[in-house]
Amino acid sequence: MKLKRILSILSMACFFTTNIAIGQEDTTQVEEEDWSIYDNLDFADEGTKRFASVKIKGLSPAQLISIGYDYQAPYDITAGAFSSYQEETANVLLTHGVRIGADVPVISRNNLIVQLGGQFWDFAYDLDRAPGSTHPLLNSLGQNGLKTFGLKATVYKPLNEFSFLLIQANADMNGDYSLSEFQSLNYNRYSAAALWGRRPNDYLQWGVGLSRTYRAGELNYIPVILYNKTSLSGKWGTEILFPARGHVRYRVNARSLVLGGFELEGNSYRIGNQNMALAAPFDELELRRSELRFRLNYQRQIVGFIWMSVQVGYRVMYSFNVDAVPEGKDFFRGFFGDQPFAMENSAGNPLYANFSINLVSP
């Protein structure tokens, strides 16, 4: 009886060990390659869809996290006359500040990409003013500088293998506030863009759309054009999102590249009347600041996915005027409006430099 039981257990063991031997088979020893059999295979499932990739070959790497420093050489600012204040000119010895950004893919699949991001930019103004200078704008810039704290969301939705939608929305808090005392959310500025595009092959991506933007300093609605192209050799290319930016790209090698072109950056900054120096109706002002930066940008891998970026260029002040914006309720002037500015200012155009360390996704 005992022997019978042992035999039955042993036979079961043999059955299972045989299965184990099959399960552990190293498949590479048995199946060898015949390249031709892979040419015309069908999917095991029906109806598999392909989607347009968000990238084309050769693009500069996307920055997931960026920490940088921006510097502008000396130039003059002329603050315009308004209310009881006379026009004043000051020499800006230094405009500089830290720039921190993050853009994280919270959903990243071949049929949908959703990215959430934020940025913090600080502009400190080191002014050399004439004795007895009292202009409130110069006071504010010199004492508080300007800050931007923004959040953004980007959605990339490929419709099929060749076309896609790109939508972005931004909320920015811009002003002369300090980090210990943020300004009211009523003064937030909102922008957005929506674009339809085509990706006919791995070397070209283009699109057209509309945007609501503050890049020119004040609210505007303008068309946008996307044009990313890479040459077949991979050496040359363009990265254009007009009118926000446009660059020609030269890829030195897999780990470094050079971009040359321009970027229009700007926003509307609340001048917070920090010292109650301004009485109504000049106690609710916004500085419409916009800069056109022409530059060369060198990007290089440091190690792994950490890259550095160095920009040198020429900064043209596109807009530096001030509007009265009661209760933060902005208005639309556009290209053809004739609402007068509360203050008409001007600023010189210096050389600038920007350096950053970035965690990238090539």
Partner: protein, 148 residues
């Protein structure tokens, strides 16, 4: 003894589950086909077909020209193991592996999830899973082997 037999049985089942990863798969871009095999106890995927097998510049079969190691840049892409060192870690998941992108010579951490028998979520990431991208691969039907 019965415990040992049951243990071996479960081991066989687990092994068979892990081996479901083997086969030929196509990434979403459709420009390559990857065959996943097993070497020892780990899983590897090699490119077995390229939509554009010839390099436009050299007019020769594509090689790994972006490999960070200069000495390895002549390795042919067809036959290249881009998925490496995957271990079956959980239900329908293979992890501890890496995926190599010949387009830029970068290697990413990678985890593979089988969402169904014919679909893989291949997630390549940098450091933490948040900084990553998921690509969906579909299984291809292999014809029966024919001798010429």
């Amino acid at each position: 003894m019965l415990g040992l037999v049951l243990f071996m049985a479960f081991g066989a089942i687990a092994q068979a589950e892990a081996d479901r990863l083997t086969g030929v798969w196509e990434p979403s871009h459709g420009k390559a086909k990857v065959k996943i095999d097993k070497i020892g106890s780990k899983y590897y995927g090699r490119i077995v077909w390229l939509k554009e097998p010839i390099d436009e510049e050299t007019k020769k079969p594509k090689v790994d020209k972006n490999n960070p190691d200069e000495k390895l840049r002549s390795t042919p892409l067809r036959g290249y193991r881009i998925l490496k060192d995957f271990v079956y870690s959980d239900e329908n998941e293979w992890s501890e592996g890496s995926i190599y992108d010949p387009e830029n010579g970068n290697t990413y951490n990678c985890v593979i999830k089988m969402t169904d028998e014919n679909t893989l979520d291949i997630r390549g990431y940098i450091g933490i899973s948040t900084f990553g991208r998921t690509d969906v691969w579909k299984r291809l039907k292999m014809p029966s082997k024919k001798k010429k």
